[in-house]
């Protein structure tokens, strides 16, 4: 017989978990007691939100399920933003919360909150464990649900008496069988043949690749397909890295802050092949004018995504990797599409991304130097806002899972803790968190965590002393009325120093490369406070409600 707490820890290890992120409290104490002499590594964060983001960053960087742990009530509630962030971006995490004993459930007991109820709309599934002997099968099921099909967060709520109670060991099942859950992996053969025929007929085909390509680990297949058929590829924010930035077929990101040439290509294409992407409004702009001349193919594992926002001509429900492999096996001819690629090349040459070349400290310049220095051998995480968009535009991603960002929920404060998680997933790679001065202050307390464990996260604050992205909207659409978006100057280096962390303030372009090198050479965490041009904007930009080829801040057409 073993206690529930011991069963939990052993079940996690049985699922291959090595590192978890958490914060203790009364109702999860039995589990913490078990962790005290367990080989399972626990990282103590400074706020539960950070534990959830760290588990999420770990999952995105590794492709495995991330785990976070918190106590009941306030601890559990602090996880919610992190769980919602993972849900919106389809990231597999398992969140474990302590709960008041089953006998007290519903009594408004001390630190009781109905966390399964609170998180219901933002979890893929959740469990309120009632008996100790359920724990091992619930853990196995939770990992299975989180990591298969369309991935997502799963919550396990563990009342204290289930942790202290005892039960017999139960063996791990060979296979989890759930009557109501059977994701489709293999695409329909006839649909696949239809798509191939459409591609061969098309004159202006375009691949629109999203986060699903990355979560399916299908980057190689995607590149092979695009190359064989000569089809250009544009990716969403979540898809960046699934095809290297220097691949001639890669048009970069599409959508609100995408490249002009990607958006032009979408607008003129006659066949749009959406692969693991979900037609988000940041991508489509005005939906009726999105890809107006194109037949649309949509490959997605989630049937609910098909036709949700845009009518689709040929849907294929299945796993990207499996579907692309089937396509590759049945393609006999090579695609040509030379004229189309020439046209795109013309746009690319005449509508490149641009920023002023005036020697001032522009954020885009910093990202370019960072790219030059790291050459893709790094994990780049971002916060939310302008910093995120400049990174997406100017850092050249070369590898899937090298780019980690909160796209769907757009959670400020995500980046730093996610970078901590990413470090544990890929300790062999340097990790940079590109931040704004607003976002970094949303989870700045995690400096305590990186200092304690000497986690070498490098924070590059693009400091404009504004909530920059909101200021940009106020400038462009609210007549320069900067209502509550100005932030006073903060001495971030001093803050870092107070935690025993090194840092540097950078005020001119020529200091950028040396500062980045210092950061990279330093063994532990490091903070860079880049004092950038304060009113720099992210361009080009599709104004809200416009068609995506009607961009502002680009080149005249």
């Amino acid at each position: 017989m073993k206690t529930g707490a011991k069963i939990l820890v052993e079940s996690l290890q049985r699922e291959g978990v090595e590192t978890i992120f958490g914060y203790p409290g009364g109702q999860i104490l039995p589990v913490y007691d078990e962790l005290y002499d367990s080989s399972l590594r626990h990282i103590l964060v400074r706020h539960e939100q950070a534990a959830a983001h760290a588990a999420d960053g770990y999952a995105r960087a590794s492709g495995r399920v991330g785990v976070c742990l918190a106590t009941s009530g306030p601890g559990a509630c602090n996880l919610v933003t992190g769980i919602a962030t993972a849900y919106m971006d389809s990231v597999p995490i398992v969140a474990i919360t302590g709960q008041v004993p089953t006998t007290m459930l519903g009594n408004d007991a001390f630190q009781e909150s109905d966390i399964t109820g609170i998180t219901m709309p933002v979890t893929k599934h959740s469990y309120l464990v009632k008996k100790t002997d359920e724990i091992s099968s619930v853990v196995q099921e939770a990992f299975y649900v989180a990591g298969t099909g369309r991935p997502g967060p799963v919550l396990i709520d563990l009342p204290k008496d289930t942790q202290t109670g005892t039960a017999r060991d139960s063996p791990r099942l060979d296979k989890v069988v759930l009557r109501g859950y059977n994701p489709t992996y293999k695409g329909h053969t006839r649909q696949i043949d239809k798509v191939i025929a459409l591609i061969l007929e098309a004159e202006r085909p375009l691949i629109y690749a999203g986060g699903g390509v990355i979560s399916s680990n299908a980057s190689e297949e995607l590149i092979a397909l695009a190359t064989q058929l000569g089809i250009p590829v544009t990716t969403t924010l979540m898809g960046l890295g699934c095809i290297p930035c220097d691949n001639p077929l890669n048009l970069g990101m599409l959508g609100m802050h995408g490249t002009e040439y990607a958006n032009f290509a979408v607008t003129e294409s006659d066949l749009l092949i959406a692969i693991g992407a979900r037609f988000d409004d940041r991508v489509t702009g005005k939906i009726d004018t999105f890809a107006p001349h194109a037949k649309i193919v949509h490959i997605d594992i989630d049937p609910a995504e098909i036709g949700k926002n845009k009518r689709v001509d040929v849907p294929i429900v299945g796993d990207v990797k499996a579907v692309l492999n089937d396509m590759l096996n049945s393609i006999k001819k090579k695609g040509i599409h030379d004229a189309w690629r020439k046209k795109i090349q013309y746009w690319r040459e005449h509508h490149p991304l641009k920023y002023p070349d005036d020697g001032k400290l522009h954020p885009q310049y910093i990202l370019q130097r960072m790219n030059e220095l790291l050459k893709g051998d790094a994990t780049i995480v971002s916060e939310v806002g302008q910093n995120q968009m400049w990174t997406a535009q100017y850092f050249g991603f070369r590898r899937p899972r090298s780019w980690i960002t909160s796209g769907g929920l757009g959670t400020m404060g995500y980046g730093f803790p996610a970078a901590i998680g990413a470090h544990f997933a890929r300790p062999d790679l340097p990790v940079f968190d590109v931040a704004g001065d607003g976002s970094i202050q949303m989870n700045i307390q995690e400096l305590g965590t990186v200092a304690q464990y000497k986690i070498p996260v490098k924070i590059a604050i693009l400091n404009n002393m504004y909530l920059g992205m909101v200021r940009q909207w106020q400038e462009l659409f609210f007549d320069h009325r900067y209502s509550y978006t100005e932030l006073p100057s903060v001495d971030f280096v001093k803050i870092a120093n107070a935690y025993g962390i090194d840092g540097i303030k950078v005020e001119s372009a020529d200091e950028v490369m040396p500062a980045l090198k210092d950061a990279l050479d330093c063994n532990g965490p490091f903070v860079m406070d880049f004092r950038i041009e304060r009113e720099e904007n992210v361009f080009p930009m599709v104004p809200a409600g416009a068609a995506i080829n009607e961009m502002i801040g680009g080149h005249p057409r």
Binding site: T116, G117, M120, S126, L128, G180, P303, A304, K308
Partner: protein, 167 residues
């Protein structure tokens, strides 16, 4: 916008009903009627929900319902030949005399049963589709309805087609 009757086969577990209804409320849908009960398959329940909405929105909700781990099968009965029934219990004021006789006459026209006879009231039990029950309620209103309770609609496909787990 038209009424859709959805038949949903679910695992009989705590929380399933709030997961289901949550998908409706988050989209601003009002559930017109709801009925839940165990069914022919062990460990499962069947939920019948009637909602009013346009076809595309309802289709999206069905797809979202299908994603819930505890949901085994979802089907929109509306497009098919089906039988739908509700049951209502109506407590009507019925003084001795002519009104009582009239009420009993109405009951027999609607094939309603009188399930309780009090000194000043009768309880009628009527089974039928929504329209029939609405019609009966309307007729009885003049006598004074003291209390009116009705179940949600339950529905089943005609012929040999079923909404089952397929095992």
């Amino acid at each position: 916008m038209k009424p859709h009757t959805l038949s949903i086969l679910v695992e009989n577990r705590a929380g399933v009903l709030s997961r289901v209804t949550g998908l409706f409320s988050r989209r601003g849908f009002n559930i017109e009627s709801l009925a839940v009960g165990p069914c022919e398959e062990p460990g499962m329940s069947r939920i019948t929900i009637v909602v009013i909405g346009d076809d595309e929105k309802v289709e999206q909700i069905m797809k979202q319902l299908n994603k819930l781990i505890d949901i085994i099968k979802v089907s929109d009965l509306t497009e098919n030949e089906r039988v739908e029934r509700e049951l209502a219990l109506i407590k009507v004021t019925a003084e001795q005399g002519s009104s009582r006789a009239e009420i009993m006459q109405i009951a027999s026209i609607f094939r309603a049963q009188i399930v309780d006879v009090g000194a000043k009231s009768l309880i009628l039990q009527v089974i039928g589709d929504t329209e029939k029950i609405d019609a009966m309620e309307k007729l009885l209103r003049q006598y004074g309805i003291k209390e009116f309770v009705r179940t949600g609609t339950v529905g089943i496909l005609r012929g040999s087609k079923t909404v089952t787990s397929g095992k």
